[in-house]
Symmetry: C2
């Protein structure tokens, strides 16, 4: 999912200064409040070489009372530390009540450097991820606030920065052979990072990815995140009762949030003449593959989600046009009925999961939990926050069994949506497709966007990745889905 993140965002110097002064004062006040309330705080920074960790950590500590925090730089373990289990050196550095421990690199080294450089076996990687989750849960249960940043820059940006450092006689020493080696291994580190983010993101210790091309943007995002997390915790500590049901501290401003959708180029199109031939060829191929997966007993799960009027129905019809109906099923998902409501929210999806060799296509899905149910308040905040983990667990269980899990987000921009809504209203045989609810949802587009971005980020995993489908051009969208399905099935069959 990292490769989809919009890294172009920046903040103007004037805006930065105006905001930063206020943030400094708020952060300093929060530090004092956390000390009074005896809340231990852990802030850790991971990220690419040359992403600016040092500078950004410095930004963060300047407004703080120096008696209240400690910065720990995490190098490879020394001889003494290698004689202990890997968490030992971090456990003993956990901050006491009311203090802030800032980690420049951290226990995640094992999932990044050790995994890629030392070629740690898969079992050791999984064990380390498990131990880290336990560690963080223990700290959180013990009252600590855990704030985890990953500073993200692209490979080309990293290249540019390393070259700049090397060009200057005064900074050349800072670029080591290892840095250059890791730069060449960007792709391997990217994979390790994606796994790390997926395996160790939790409600008690969530990751924040920081777009670090622009230092001012990154700095504001870090400040806002730390402030939001501290405010939330202090609020919960001071008046745990009274805040129930009330509006919570707002979190970080929307314009600082990770954006995946903003970077999607919805303008891509596919000319009609090319489309026809491609479509025919792909539909033929997908039917062949349907038989193959039946023989090989591979179950396939395909999830369609997307904006209203993004074209889910038409897309599904193109995918299934040529399929053997005995091998697939389309499950339309609406609001749960009374029987479904009496069960766990995932129960109705479990009952519909394909058996080995079959395909189930979900037209909307369990992701309703973290979109419509979140926004309409049909479930509590604790429930939808927990759902990211629960959904990942369910998809992982399917994938472990051998299933291929596809998830498509059909993306159109607001102008295109409006055009389609209007067209539906004016076309008699399409009128049924547009309801008052669609217009109401459209008014909540900003809330939906926040929820969708978070969903795409927290539930895109190596075993069940999201594919974003640019859908302003329906022809392009249909071909992209077919291509994606065919490609991954073919790779599995090989």
């Amino acid at each position: 999912m990292l490769e989809n993140i919009d890294l172009t965002r920046e903040v103007q110097k004037k805006d930065y200064k105006a905001q930063k002064d206020v943030l400094d004062i708020r952060l300093a006040a929060l530090q004092r409040r956390a000390l009074e309330l005896k809340i231990p705080v852990i802030v850790l920074f991971e990220g690419w070489d040359a992403a600016g960790k040092g500078t950004l950590i410095n930004d963060l500590i300047l407004p703080l009372d120096p008696r209240g925090f400690t910065v720990h730089s995490t190098l490879p373990p020394n001889e003494e530390e290698r004689l202990r289990p890997f968490l030992w050196r971090f456990w003993i550095k956990t901050p006491p009540a009311g203090r802030i421990g800032i980690f420049d690199r951290s226990w995640y080294r094992v999932l990044l450097n050790d995994r890629v450089d030392a070629d740690l076996p898969g079992k050791a990687v999984r064990r380390a991820a498990r131990d880290i989750s336990s560690f963080e849960r223990q700290l959180s249960d013990g009252g600590a606030v855990l704030i985890k940043f990953f500073l993200h820059i692209s490979k080309s940006e990293q290249k540019r920065r390393l070259a700049k450092l090397r060009a200057d006689r005064l900074t050349r020493w800072r670029v080591t052979k290892e840095d250059l080696k890791r730069h060449r291994q960007y792709a391997e580190y990217l994979e390790a990072t994606e796994d790390m983010l997926a395996d160790t993101d939790s409600d008690f210790a969530p990751w924040t990815v920081v777009e670090a091309h622009d230092r001012r943007f990154a700095s504001l995002k870090i400040f806002n995140t730390v402030i939001a997390r501290l405010e939330r915790r202090i609020e919960e500590t001071v008046k745990p009762r009274r805040t129930r049901g009330r509006k919570k501290a707002p979190g970080i401003p929307e314009k600082l949030r990770v954006s995946i959708l903003d970077g999607v180029d919805v303008s891509v199109t596919l000319p009609r003449e090319k489309y026809k031939d491609r479509l025919n060829a792909l539909q033929k191929r997908v039917r062949e593959l349907e038989h193959e997966i039946y023989m090989r007993r591979i179950p396939v799960v395909i999830v369609y989600e997307g904006w209203d009027a993004a074209g889910k129905g038409g897309n599904i019809r193109r995918l299934t046009r040529n399929l053997d109906p005995r091998g697939y099923e389309v499950v339309p998902v609406a609001a749960p009925n009374d029987i479904e409501k009496a069960h766990h929210y995932l129960w109705r999806f479990w009952t519909e999961m394909p058996k080995a060799g079959h395909i189930t296509i979900f037209d909307r899905s369990w992701y309703g939990r973290v979109m419509v149910e979140r926004i309409e308040g049909f479930c509590t905040e604790a429930e939808w926050r927990r759902a990211y983990r629960e959904i990942n667990e369910m998809e992982q269980h399917m994938a472990d069994f051998g299933a291929l899990v596809f998830k498509f987000w059909l993306h159109i921009d607001p102008a295109e949506q409006l055009r389609r809504f209007r067209s539906r209203e004016q076309t008699p045989h399409k009128e049924w497709k547009i309801t008052d609810e669609d217009w109401r949802n459209r008014k909540k587009a900003r809330q939906y966007k926040t929820a969708i971005e978070e969903m795409l980020f927290r539930t895109s995993t190596r075993y069940a990745p999201w594919t974003i489908v640019e859908s302003n051009c329906k022809r392009h969208a249909r071909i992209k889905v077919l291509d994606t399905v065919i490609d991954r099935i073919e790779r599995r069959l090989r």
Copy 2:
């Protein structure tokens, strides 16, 4: 830990009848209440063949309203079910709100039969345990009450029962070849069961081991457990605020709880003349081994816990008498000081953990959390309940790193303790060893016993097992500790 459980317990017919009628009425009332409050309930039974699952399930359902529960018998998966991931057939059978689902065998087949019979690889076993934990946590978070029973009988009892069934022409058919095969594999199943109990015991879905030699005892224990869990949940549902800090529903009566300590034969002794020679030989051997583990870089953790005046100090001195002081350390653990109190309760133990090749002996330990802190109210119930898992995680982290973790419970009976307290009071140079607190603790012996039994059960794991040391005879206790330490180190070195 199962092999230490006292299986001799029984209930007289008269007592049984008197209690059972009351329990039937209470259970039926609770079923109605759970239905009103829309609480889904899952009760599952695992256990040895011929342990009496069928009979005991029947006992349980007789007082229930038959419209409100379903019994699911779990056989090996059929052809249809094998085409799905293993949790699928259980997910779709989870009870709706207000209903009771009773499982005669369950999803734990995979950790028992599949592991032993199908020789499932370790990775698949761990993955299944992880998936089961996720499944149970999801159900619990969704509002379900999960009650898990393991019906325990000894191998000889199983043999007797199988023989009896086979001797009767009418019941012979019930004993299959597979039953007899599993009987011969009792030891393997015991190991799988111990792992299962350790890996899937949680605060949201705890295991209850039922001593099933006596049907009446087992039946009462099952009824009391189900009633206690339902009452607790109903109480939490109805008045989640008001019960804070108040006394909770009492749980099951003490006399039905698993007892490990009652089965300990504290009368074993070791004659003085034998003792001297053994002690010398073992102390010499343990010093040799200290050097070996240093060379092999194996860390060793030794925990001493036990009743006041059980002889921890003297025992530790005998263990360390001949050791090279550069290779070991004794850490006496008292109440935490101010700095320690400002940290996570495990922090001070992490700082003391041995490095590779060294031995650390803890004279009392992190187990204070689930004994004195639990009983004196120094931590909340949520905190000590969580501590079982946290402690297991810490010990597993050490064990994964290669550490040998020993835990000794020094056990004396109340009469012996009284004798020692009195003797201390009357011996001038020992007077300092006895304080008012010791007498106060002694008055709370019943509460301590409950806490200790639960601790021994929930934290005895294959990577860090408890050893119960009969300590009425100090000579015997000292030799047993030395023997245990030497034996496990030697096995590791081989």
